[in-house]
């Protein structure tokens, strides 16, 4: 017998037939389809018991209460906390995406030290020893003022601890980023004396005259403003929006009044003039006017006649008059300053002129009005223990009044003015105008210590990174700010154990001070931050800990308020946009893009329109009339005195001819492929201009030109 072709054929056919009438085929067909339903690379989230943790969001100055849904102890979703008196339920997209910050690929997972331009992980002990060594030398050399510190704000116990640290150390150089709160404090201080700030009762006002304030685009406490805006429609309250671009706020307003960018102060001055001329101011409140009301009146009548201002602002004289009169005649009018989100570059003159409108109507410290209230002082810090070195250092003259001024000074001076810089919760190398210059200034500082959770632009320019826990992993008191009418202090609480080897910044400072020893140690005589916090807020700790928040003040502040016209009566100069090109570039605040620290989350970036970012290209808004033959969607080179960028055009009938709008908060240059490397950072096209009166950067825009790329 010979094994031939047919034998093999038999073998094959037999095998096929045998398999065919066994369950193999059917079972494998079914199982392979089930395999596709359970691909091992598609995650299967574990189940567990549902619990809720409560905390306060610190991603922006809005300070919303949040509720964190946890399953099996794992946080899975952030939502607004229904009972929290700032947001009363609801949350903005950034807060809801908060868990993405917790697990952000950019989280700094362990302390880092820069060595030859590269970061190496070190232990916490090494990091603290390293920083303490550097600081010890400064004090030993009787040079403590060479330590500077930049924090986002001056409110709350953590910035307070930095101030405490600086004072005990002996340096006056603690400066802050420019927030809406800092502008409001400056304004209140200028008009009503030190120790004051402003709040706006938008919830009850019946006529809101907004000078570009993005009421529904992130201004102030965003969710509170959204709610106030929704309520306004139901109450029948009016909103007049004055800005060069049809923002969402303008689109939802009762009236949109387009204005030439940067002329808001002129308009407000002219309106003050009208109110004074027409005798539409509140005589009772005017009794508290000081510092030369008549001089102010004479000045505005002379310098800001309506016809002239109409030409400057591009608003007809009739409209100016009508608006001013409607405003003055409203029962509860509020004029709101702060273009966009109100942070970054603004102008004290503008703020003061707008707030003067409020003062003239007399709707101050009344329901539905503007609240001139004391700067929050709920923290009982003990006096720092200072030795001779500290006393001498602290008494030295402050280098700068603000972060941008400090950076400009460092950039401009040849000698090293700052030896060591602390940065906390701020990203000046991205958010300040001209971040390239800021980074260069950082290069000049021999030792930058960054307290940060994320490897952002400033972290990359730092020498030591001390990774801090996010607001979901630690305790912190969070006072409401940014124009919020009342004062609510919330308690951010750990809803999850730190995901990485991170610490609370308070704990780090205490540890650092103790390592330095001596009076530093004495000044920080707390075992840990939680104990420290408890001792700082004796009056409200129980509320904070039990309810998660404490309402410190609510409703209009009591007492008469005096108003000082001295500053405005001098008619301080208006900051003009730099350059001499025909067009003017202004930053746009877009609710879906975070413009300060931390950067947007992947979810937030996902919601950004393809008319803002396409692939990695940045779009700028322009009126088709301004385009001059250029095409919608076409590439152009946008040039300003500070630099140039290749961008694409987005034709928008809702922007004033002659104006180019660019969304703020994009063009990050750190290593996160979901968020960074997309678009252009508008700050790179604008150079800072320090306003003489405020010491803050007032470069709201810049002259620009476009040409086909």
């Amino acid at each position: 017998m010979k094994v031939d072709r047919r034998s093999f054929l038999g073998l094959g056919l037999g095998a096929v037939a045998g398999i065919a009438i066994s369950p193999v085929g059917a079972k494998l067909t079914d199982d392979s389809s089930i395999w596709t339903q359970n691909w091992p690379w598609t995650p299967v989230p574990p189940d567990g018991k549902i619990t809720y943790g409560q905390s306060v969001c610190t991603l922006c100055p809005g300070t919303c209460g949040i509720s964190v849904r946890k399953i099996g102890g794992r946080p899975v979703k952030i939502e607004g906390q229904d009972t929290y008196p700032v947001n009363n339920g609801g949350a903005c997209l950034h807060g809801i995406a908060g868990l993405q910050y917790l697990y952000d690929p950019c989280r700094v997972k362990t302390p880092l030290k820069k060595n030859n331009g590269r970061f190496e992980p070190i232990s916490w002990e090494e990091a603290i020893t390293l920083v303490a060594g550097r600081l010890g030398k400064l004090r030993k050399n009787q040079n403590p003022e060479a330590l500077a510190c930049i924090t986002d704000t001056n409110l709350g116990s953590v910035p307070g601890l930095f101030s405490h640290f600086m004072a005990a150390f002996g340096s006056p150089n603690h400066v802050f980023m420019q927030t809406l709160e800092s502008w409001l404090t400056q304004t209140a201080q200028t008009l009503h004396g030190p120790g004051h700030t402003l709040g706006f009762d938008l919830e009850n006002a019946d006529f809101i005259l907004s000078f570009g304030a993005g009421i529904i685009e992130g201004w102030g406490s965003p969710v509170a403003c959204f709610k106030a805006n929704s309520g306004r429609r139901q109450r029948g309250g009016k909103l007049y929006q004055i800005e060069p671009r049809l923002s969402s706020t303008a689109a939802g307003a009762d009236k949109w009044i387009p204005i030439h960018p940067g002329t808001e102060a002129d308009l407000a001055m002219a309106m003050c003039g009208i109110l004074l001329q027409e005798n539409l101011f509140d005589p009772e409140f005017a009794a508290g006017f000081r510092g030369g009301l008549n001089r102010f009146n004479a000045m505005v009548q002379q310098k800001y006649p309506v016809e002239q201002v109409a030409a400057i602002t591009g608003i007809s004289a009739a409209d100016i008059k009508k608006t001013a009169i409607a405003f003055a005649k409203a029962k509860m009018p509020v004029a709101v300053p702060g273009k966009g989100r109100g942070d970054g570059a603004q102008s004290l003159k503008e703020f003061a002129a707008i707030h003067t409108l409020n003062c003239l109507t007399g709707n101050i410290n009344k329901k539905g009005g503007t609240f001139v209230k004391p700067v929050p002082e709920y923290l009982a810090f003990p006096d720092p223990v200072q030795d001779a070195v500290a006393r001498d250092g602290a008494a030295k003259e402050k280098l700068a009044g603000s972060a941008p001024e400090l950076v400009t000074k460092i950039h401009q001076s040849d000698a090293p003015v700052v030896d060591t810089l602390f940065v906390y919760n701020a990203n000046p190398c991205y958010t300040l105008n001209d971040p390239i210059q800021t980074s260069a200034a950082f290069e000049k500082i021999p030792f930058v210590v960054n307290f940060t959770a994320f490897m952002d632009e400033t972290a990359m320019a730092s020498d030591v990174i001390l990774p801090i826990s996010t607001f979901l992993e630690r305790f912190e008191d969070v006072p409401s700010k940014a124009g919020f009418a009342g004062l609510v202090v919330g308690l951010a609480r750990p809803v999850v154990d730190p995901v990485f080897d991170t610490r609370s910044p308070g704990d780090v400072l205490i540890h650092l001070a103790k390592t330095l020893g001596g009076t530093m140690g004495e000044s920080f005589d707390w075992p840990d931050y939680k104990t420290c916090l408890k001792s700082l807020v004796p009056g409200i700790w129980n509320d904070l800990y039990k309810k998660g928040y404490a309402v410190v003040s609510q409703g209009p502040p009591a007492g008469r308020m005096e108003t000082n016209f001295a500053f405005l009566a001098e008619n301080p100069p208006t900051i003009q946009p730099q350059g001499d090109a025909d067009l003017i570039l202004v930053p746009i605040d877009n609710m879906r893009v975070a413009s300060t620290a931390p950067a947007s989350s992947p979810f937030a970036i996902k919601t950004v329109s393809d008319r803002v970012i396409k692939n990695t290209d940045m779009f700028v808004e322009i009126n088709p009339k301004t385009a001059n033959g250029l095409k919608d969607g076409g590439f152009v080179t946008l040039t300003t005195p500070a630099g140039s960028a290749k961008v694409r055009l987005n034709f928008n009938e809702g922007i004033m001819p002659g104006v180019i709008g660019m969304v703020k908060g994009l063009g990050h240059r750190f290593d996160n492929r979901y968020v960074a490397g997309k678009g252009v950072n508008v700050h790179e096209l604008i150079s800072p201009v320090i306003e003489p009166g405020s010491g803050l950067d007032a470069a709201f825009g810049v002259k620009a030109s476009i040409s086909k790329a």
Partner: protein, 223 residues
Amino acid sequence: MSEIENKTEHGSMDGAKESAAEDPKNDTGLGLGVIFFILAFLICFLSGWLLFPKLLYSKHEQPFNFDHALHVQETGDCESCHFLREDGTFSGIPKTESCLDCHTDEPMGETEDEAIFAAEYVAKQREVPWYVYAKQPDCVYFSHAAHIKAAGMDCVTCHGHIGESTSSRPYEENRLTGYSRDIWGNNIWGITKNPWDSMKMDDCAVCHEEETGHKGYCFQCHK
């Protein structure tokens, strides 16, 4: 008749002649072919029915033996350990923490299994990675509350007499799908004698149709 058919008729004659000429050789080849055929058929047929199911499933021993009967005796019912939470969700397999409500004696280790539990999980503060025989795939939403509370069913109806077992049988997992063999596959014929022999969608549907008059919409049982 068409031209084609004419032609094929013609062709076939050639073929018939040729094959006839090769007859003797053909016969042995065919005979061997038949033997090979039968052999291959039997091997494949039998391995398809007997070997294949064995190969398809991987066996896992539980981390340690669990005596359900003993626990039921001590606690009295299933619900002491497998209960509905206040929000109506089902707690499933107890966490180590719940076990320690009763296992309070120090040191533990009355039995060998308790000793493993104490040493490996209690001491190390770990959860026991039990294999769950009735584990449904992730796409399935199952409400114990609906069945226990609203339909008044008891555990045995679906889970069988697991409460009477004194030892944990090995968990069998389909290598391809990751399904527990209890969900589908205990019987390769697909014959189920008891409800707990199979827990695929069709099995749910049978009962749902009887009890509610409708098999249900996608989201009723899927997520």
